[in-house]
């Protein structure tokens, strides 16, 4: 581990990698600040830039973009009550009221300190947990991988809640369906290509990510006539001088930071949960733990109410790298895109990456420290200037997003068919999103689809065409039981609660 860390530190300290961390944090913060655009869009937009880079450098840039965008999203939530993505919604509960009360600088500073602390503490956990899990997962066979992927895809849907579970599962299946388009890698048979040579290689994941997120988000900005930052009084922002947080305030939020970091990290490790659940659970936990006097302040500008989700979502973002780097299973939509990028770089994700490409593994981890420091020291004082950039009118911003998306995809293949395909997919995704169907599971399903089919095929070949590997291999069986429990979790909880309520009402009678 020590050797790996040293490799990671030495690779991170290469000037190009330091520059990429810095660039990632800056661009991520900027894109994250734009209402409606979150880390998925930020990462998707920058992937084409990374294609010519060394895999470690590319991943460092993408990781910087990820947490930069989360930090940027918090800024936007606090200043104009418009969260860029679900993970920063909980930040608006107390961040925006605090800004309204005349403390926008303090709210932003607390958000920055908490993001830094949450991110840094979680990276320490990541450093310990990821190699340990990678060593354990070296004994995994294809049947275990297949089941693990089923678990990852199911977990995404399970965390969508009782009402959204079936919808998420259906969209995941749609993603798996799209993954089958193209030439079957084992038999060489064309599937769903309709005789078109443009579809022989299937749909590119970058195209799908751009179409379902960057283009769709930009279309939403127009459809809903969303003001990008028109409400923001840019001049007043420059006057903010007080980013100071007093010692008393630090003392107040310190236990919150520690608790939310631990909770956020472990939530992030669960496949499919990501920053959203991390931030909401941290907020909920903090409100429940707060004394009655403090609890009354929640939702009205409580410092603890701001610190908890901010720490939680950053810790969860770092946590979501554990399944990505060790098992090759993405924990969120953004890490799904990063998994796609890893595959595009020619790296096989999974435990072998820890052995074969330790420099990528460790550089991503070590660069996170650097990224968190950059976000704190450089981005915080630069917020007033960043916000000026964000004041770009919607009329200019949206076509520019379209342009970057098209160019990103076109310059990889130089095939105009890809642009037609992007438009078609973006329109379909827009309709599905208007009908309340989430798009992140689509990407997860799409990216894992090929790997899942390969592993299932291999397992069936090993077991002579029988499905008995599901119950004969203890590890596969354990993962399968966990999967079933994850599916049933939204139903079991209320059922148990109902049972106890019935029991207590009977005993009262």
């Amino acid at each position: 581990m020590l050797q790996g860390m040293l490799v990671g530190i030495s690779t991170t300290m290469i000037p190009i990698n330091i520059a990429m961390v810095l660039l990632g944090c800056f661009v991520g913060s900027f894109i994250g600040m734009l209402p409606g655009l979150g880390p998925i869009t930020a990462v998707a937009l920058m992937i084409p830039v990374t294609y010519g880079m060394d895999p470690a450098t590319g991943m460092v840039l993408l990781a910087g973009l990820y947490y930069g965008a989360i930090f940027g999203g918090s800024t936007c939530s606090i200043l104009i009550n418009a969260p860029g993505e679900a993970a920063t919604v909980a930040t608006t509960f107390d961040g925006y009221p605090l800004a309204q009360q005349g403390y926008p600088g303090k709210a932003l500073a607390i958000a920055a300190y908490c993001s830094f602390s949450g991110g840094t503490i979680a990276v320490v956990f990541l450093m310990v947990a990821a190699p340990a899990l990678a060593i354990v997962s070296k004994s995994f066979q294809s049947s275990d991988y297949f089941m693990l992927m089923v678990m990852g895809l199911t977990a995404v849907s399970a965390f969508a809640g009782k009402g959204g579970m079936l919808k998420s599962l259906l969209i995941t299946v749609l993603g798996l369906m799209l993954a089958t388009i193209g030439t079957d890698q084992i038999s060489g048979i064309q599937r769903y290509t309709f005789g078109s040579i443009n579809l022989l290689d299937g749909i590119s994941f970058l195209l799908l990510a751009m179409a379902t997120f960057a283009l769709t988000e930009a279309m939403f900005l127009i459809l809903r006539r969303e003001k990008v930052s028109d409400d923001l009084d840019v001049k007043s922002i420059s006057k903010w001088s007080s980013f100071k947080v007093t010692k008393k305030e630090f003392k107040l939020i310190l236990p919150t930071i520690l608790r939310s970091s631990v909770l956020g990290f472990f939530i992030g490790v669960l496949p499919g949960s990501g920053g959203t659940l991390g931030s909401f659970l941290s907020y909920g936990m903090e409100r429940n733990l707060a004394p009655p006097e403090e609890r009354k302040k929640f939702g009205k500008g409580s410092l603890r109410g701001l610190a908890a989700p901010e720490t939680g979502n950053n810790a969860a973002s770092s946590g979501s790298f554990v399944p990505l780097l060790t098992l090759g299973i993405p924990g969120s939509g953004t890490t799904a895109i990063m998994l796609g990028a890893l595959i595009a770089y020619g790296i096989e994700p999974g435990p072998r990456m820890f052995v074969d490409r330790p420099e990528v593994f460790w550089t991503v981890i070590m660069s996170m420290y650097l990224g968190n420091i950059f976000l704190l020291i450089l981005n915080l004082p630069l917020i007033p200037y960043f916000v000026r950039l964000v004041a770009i009118p919607r009329t200019i911003l949206v076509p520019a997003i379209f342009f970057f998306s098209f160019i990103g995809v076109y310059l990889v293949t130089f095939n105009t068919f890809d642009i037609y395909m992007m438009i078609l997919i973006a329109v379909c995704a827009l309709i599905m999103r208007l009908l309340d169907y989430p798009m992140a599971p689509l990407l997860l399903g799409f990216i894992l689809g090929g790997l899942m089919e390969d592993n299932l095929r291999r397992s069936l070949t090993i077991y002579d065409g029988s499905m008995r590997f599901l119950w004969e291999r203890p590890l596969t069986l354990t993962i399968m039981i966990l999967t079933v429990l994850i599916v049933l979790a939204p139903f079991i909880g209320p059922a148990i609660k109902g049972f106890f309520q019935k029991c207590s009402s009977r005993s009262n009678q």
């Binding site: 259906l170 369906m177 379209f402 076109y410 169907y437 095929r457």
Partner: protein, 160 residues
């Protein structure tokens, strides 16, 4: 009709079509005898997709919000701007090879800005020309990527 039901209906039709098309995937003689062949996964996915969308259609939806109806989801939105933008995107992809990356991108951006309501002529060009030229310079001159000039330049005899 509720939003999720409409979505489920669309996906039900898609899943059925996908499942049926799985039968048209050609198989080799040996492939037909294999337990797992190129058709297996699509066929299974078609069945699962059909089943899930059918369940969403049949089961009562949890939400009973007023804004849950499909009409509400599509009403009051700026469809005309999106429609025009989609039109200009298609125009962009058609002209990309003929006019080349630089000219077609500038037209696309100027058109896009105009559709969204920007009427300041200087901003239309200041927002588009430097951006496109910067991207072109970055890609072709700094990163060394070959970006083919538009066919129009050959037709006009600018490039021979």
């Amino acid at each position: 009709m509720k939003k999720e039901k409409v979505g489920a209906l669309i996906l039900l039709m898609f899943s059925i079509a996908y499942g049926l098309l799985a039968f048209k995937i050609p198989l080799s003689f040996l492939g037909q005898r294999e337990t797992f062949n190129a058709r297996t996964m699509p066929f299974a996915l078609g069945i699962i997709g059909t089943l899930l969308s059918f369940l969403i259609l049949v089961l009562p939806s949890g939400k009973t919000d007023k804004g849950d109806k499909v009409e509400d989801a599509f009403r009051g939105l700026d469809w005309s701007s999106v429609g025009f933008l989609i039109g200009i995107m298609i125009f962009y992809s058609i002209t990309l090879r003929f006019l080349g990356l630089v000219i077609s991108s500038i037209i696309f951006l100027v058109g896009g800005f105009y559709i969204l309501g920007e009427r300041r002529i200087w901003l239309l060009f200041i927002g588009s020309v430097p951006l496109v030229l910067f991207i072109w310079f970055l890609m072709s001159r700094i990163l060394g990527m070959y970006i083919a000039p538009g066919e129009i330049f050959y037709l006009l005899g600018v490039i021979k």
